[in-house]
Symmetry: C2
């Protein structure tokens, strides 16, 4: 079985030393978020996830969820329900929600390390509370007062959980095709919803008494396509306007999927059969509400990549230190042992440092995005709020796609460090790789994130998000331009930032003649962006470590990891830039029939 | 469930049009390998693998092998044993073995498409006959006459299967550490072998009456390390010098592993308890014999990557043509349908073309390596034989590592084309990805192949293999240097070939001062090499297609796939070159303790 200890030291470094969270929380008026409180929260989160959730991870994989076709009930693996009760009792469910709705009122950004830890400890378990956040945000932003009153508090407190019911058998990405229908009931308030949704995470389970489904459906007078989508809140047990829970609604789980991994996460077919629901937001305004849920969920899935990577790293590192095999090429390092530990071998170090540099860099990308949500919500200056909103929108597809793709790479490398032992269940490493595999698929595949970045978040907004990010990079470059010790990072960073801007201009120009250029560049543009973003965070990490009270070994470790990143990972931008520059023709020339029989 | 049809058209193109197999077979004196015969063999192989093996693939994954602890017996999934009987009855087992030992005497290279098809149809099943080949080669080259007489015929005919018993719990790569012991028996002929081997593929099963284990062990007077290893042949049931099968030997399966994939392949712990065995090759000469087995097995595992990739491609392509989702960016392509098939989207095409270009290119790399084995065995000129041997040795780690890593990438991309549907068992795509995951681990991890390439196959032989390969490239470049239509391939190919040579010189020079430079460059050097090798095969494919009798669509498809390869895949060499040039310091600087707690 694989072990997990929350990397509190690095989380604190990222929060306090790099992102200056103490000053930020004060500035944004989070009076309760003192360093003492935050430290206590992090330590308690580490304890809960390490001692309660992590030991259930392999049990969840072995046993999985089970489905009873007669009742439509889903039973979660042993210990899962009890762990959820502890989660609720500990107040974790509403850690960053407003006190008005039963939350703890702490900064949103603290949900980032909490969820990293949950995902590292037990990804499948983490999927049950995860989707509640999306539901909470949708109701907060688009719900009517009575809906907020009735549904939000139980969701925030974790007494109920939420879902996002979007996908149908014939439509995932293209929600304009959906067939679920809603018709107004005679009461003038509620709607009757019928249709089948698939791939509904936590759509049915035994954690809570009620489940709140947020369902996309079409009203009879809906315009065609995505503009005709409306959002409905549809509880498993009917809920009256005063919050009273009534009889069972026409909502039933039809089956659960058999999957490659996250076997303890119930992925449900949910059948709505004249189910009673309420419109959230205006008629045909569902798309906007959906994006509210989706963006929350996307950042959340990005954290799954980080959590799995961190756990993979810890276990690969331990194995690389213990496993004795062959001698260092430059001569025995431990002549008293029968062989050297494999961490002496350059290629094992390459794999470990790849994981380390991608995880620690990603952690900053994710925490930065999380902190921008706080700024967008609480900054005094409306311009600062708006810019934070623009920037986090821009970073969301990068964060989701890169962190999950790196999660796949990192768990891949961890398996590789274990050799054949990585492929058998015993060590628990192959589970991490199977679990990671879902993260680039759900909440929008990597290809969809790439289109979102180049399309909606860049082309449609004339690069507003990129400009804001590049301004940060340039300010940092300027601040350190005379610092000789930083030149090894500052010089290539400045060059990459310039190239990023010019590649963007190129793509947008070419797209004016041929819109396929956007799609053709999208994937490589996304990764190009991700690697430059991480280069920025690695440069900032070195500067922050040098200015921090951390010990010499910590500072040296940051410096050497940054050097590895710049020497061995950042050059991936060369390939991505070349691919972008090659344009759409190599992808689009081939007639569909010539792909094969 | 995923489907599979052997890509006979492309296999024939590669064999006949690119590699000139007809003339080669004639020149090497393979009188029976006329085009008619070879075509008939390929068609029958396609029928057998498609109709017998492929339908058992998902059954094998669902049911797996089962182990009876009381008897030590392994039961294979339903249908597996019967399929093996058909395989034996069809004469497939000895397709390329000498007629003297009951084989069909066809060229070795024909085993390449056969094994590609077997692996595509049912990788786990294919592992049972696979290891026999290594055993056959070891006995052919190193066995005494009576051993060849007694063991080879049943192995070639498939009445028995073979294994390679190398790994022990504490040693995989570093076989010098092994603890299995052999002592001479009083009969002056046999040895008594005791020890525990793990990860023994097909170590126990219900296909055949006997199993022939080739076991690495140490004699009492063995020098320490890898120089003290001897090879023994140890049958499950004792075999007398005259071939009579006797009582059960002291060989017993202790358990089978629970794995991420290839669940129908029995991965066994094999306990040897005073088992009777015979020395193969001289005392302490086991390493050489092991490399004979290993090289055969490595090329065989490389074909697993191709087989899985081909099946992944066929299914992803079918799905991309059927699944309707969103509209092409440049406007609806099928306005009469509710949405366009996803094959219109550039990023889906990127994934499909990545698979296509890597599979078809790999097929040539593998067939070329296979044909070199024929040349090494049968060419009249001893220099030609020796050069073929050198070249195939050089290409073996590239073939094994690249084809398996690309197999992982290709099955990854296929899952990605299916979106969330790729993650559930129903479509059979996630099985391909799980099965593929073993291929970069067994028979030497990718890191081990990389060290083999830069160390033994390059540094130790002063680049002899590389020089031979580059001479082929240069001859081809020269032949086409005035052909304007080929310039888009010839110019970059010539440049990459030059860069390959100069990167090699650089690494070897740096390694003189610091041997860690070899290890530090190894991984990136391997992939750099692989991408240039495929660039060569893609240029040759275009030239061969143009000169062939294939139709315009086929020729155009080759041309466009080659363009994709040069525009979108070959630029990966930029990243690998930069990583190589960054040297060992970014990997080696960090003290072990600074990797983390």
């Amino acid at each position: 079985m694989s072990s997990y200890n929350a990397p509190l030291n690095d989380i604190r470094f990222a929060l306090y030393d790099v992102l200056g969270a103490e000053a930020l929380f004060q500035r944004l008026g989070y009076a309760d978020a003192s360093r003492d409180i935050v430290d206590a929260v992090l330590e308690e989160a580490a304890r809960f996830t390490g001692s309660v959730l992590a030991p259930l991870n392999s049990v969840g994989d072995e046993v999985g969820c089970s489905f009873d076709a007669a009742s439509g009930d889903v039973t979660t693996p042993p210990g899962f329900r009890q762990a959820y009760q502890q989660f609720v009792d500990g107040g974790w469910s509403g850690l960053t929600s407003a006190a008005d709705f039963g939350g703890q009122g702490l900064p949103h950004v603290l949900g980032v390390p909490l969820n990293e830890m949950i995902n590292a400890a037990n990804l499948a378990w983490g999927n049950f509370p995860l989707l509640s956040h999306g539901a909470v945000h949708a109701l907060e932003h688009h719900g009517q007062d009575w809906q907020r009153e009735v549904f939000l508090k139980p969701l925030v407190e974790g007494r109920w959980t939420g879902t996002m019911c979007l996908t149908e058998p014939h439509c995932g990405t293209d929600l304009g095709l959906l067939k679920t229908r809603a018709t107004a009931n005679a009461d003038g308030e509620s709607y009757s919803i019928s249709g089948t949704k698939i791939f509904i995470t936590a759509g049915e389970h035994d954690f809570t008494d009620n489940i709140v489904h947020l369902v996309l459906a079409k009203l009879p007078d809906a315009p065609p396509g995505a503009k005709g989508i409306s959002l409905f809140v549809v509880p498993k047990f009917k809920v009256a306007g005063d919050g009273t829970v009534g009889e069972r609604n026409g909502v039933r789980c039809g089956s659960i999927e058999h999957k490659m991994g996250i076997k303890a996460s119930a992925t449900c077919v949910i059948n709505f059969d004249d189910a009673q629901g309420y419109l959230v937001g205006g008629a045909h305004k569902g798309l906007q509400a959906m994006f509210t849920m989706m963006n929350t969920a996307r950042l959340g899935v990005g954290l799954q990549g980080i959590g799995l990577s961190e756990r993979a790293y810890q276990n690969a590192l331990r194995y690389a230190r213990e496993r004795l095999q062959s001698r260092a090429l430059s001569g025995a390092r431990f002549p008293d042992k029968p062989a050297d530990p494999i961490i002496v071998h350059p290629d094992v170090r390459r794999m470990l440092l790849s994981i380390k540099s991608l995880v620690e860099g990603s952690r900053l990308l994710a925490l930065h995005a999380g902190s921008l949500i706080d700024v967008a919500k609480r900054a005094a200056d409306p311009k600062e709020r708006e810019e934070a909103e623009t920037l986090v929108s821009f970073l969301t597809p990068i964060s989701k796609a890169c962190q999950t793709e790196w999660g796949i790479e990192n768990t891949y490398n961890a398996v590789q460090c274990f050799g054949g032992h990585g492929y058998i269940r015993e060590h628990g490493i192959e589970q991490l790789a199977r679990d990671a595999r879902i993260t680039t698929l759900y909440e929008g595949t990597t290809g969809i994130q790439a289109l979102d970045l180049i399309g909606r978040k860049t082309a449609a907004s004339h690069g507003a998000g990129l400009k804001l990010f590049l301004a940060q990079v340039q300010a940092f470059v300027k601040q350190h331009q005379d610092d000789q010790a930083m030149a090894e990072f500052i010089v290539p960073l400045a060059r990459k930032a310039e190239e990023w801007a010019s590649l963007t201009t190129d793509i947008l120009q070419r797209a004016q003649d041929n819109p396929e250029e956007l799609g053709a560049a999208s994937y490589d543009y996304l990764f190009y962006s991700g690697y430059v973003v991480l280069a920025y965070w690695w440069a900032r990490s070195v500067a922050a470590a040098n200015a921090s009270a951390h010990g010499a070994d910590f500072r040296q470790s940051k410096l050497e990891t940054a050097r590895f990143y710049y020497a061995r990972i950042l050059p991936r931008t060369l390939t991505h830039a070349a691919a972008i520059q090659s344009g759409a023709a190599p992808l689009m020339a081939m007639a569909d029939a010539r792909f094969g029989e």
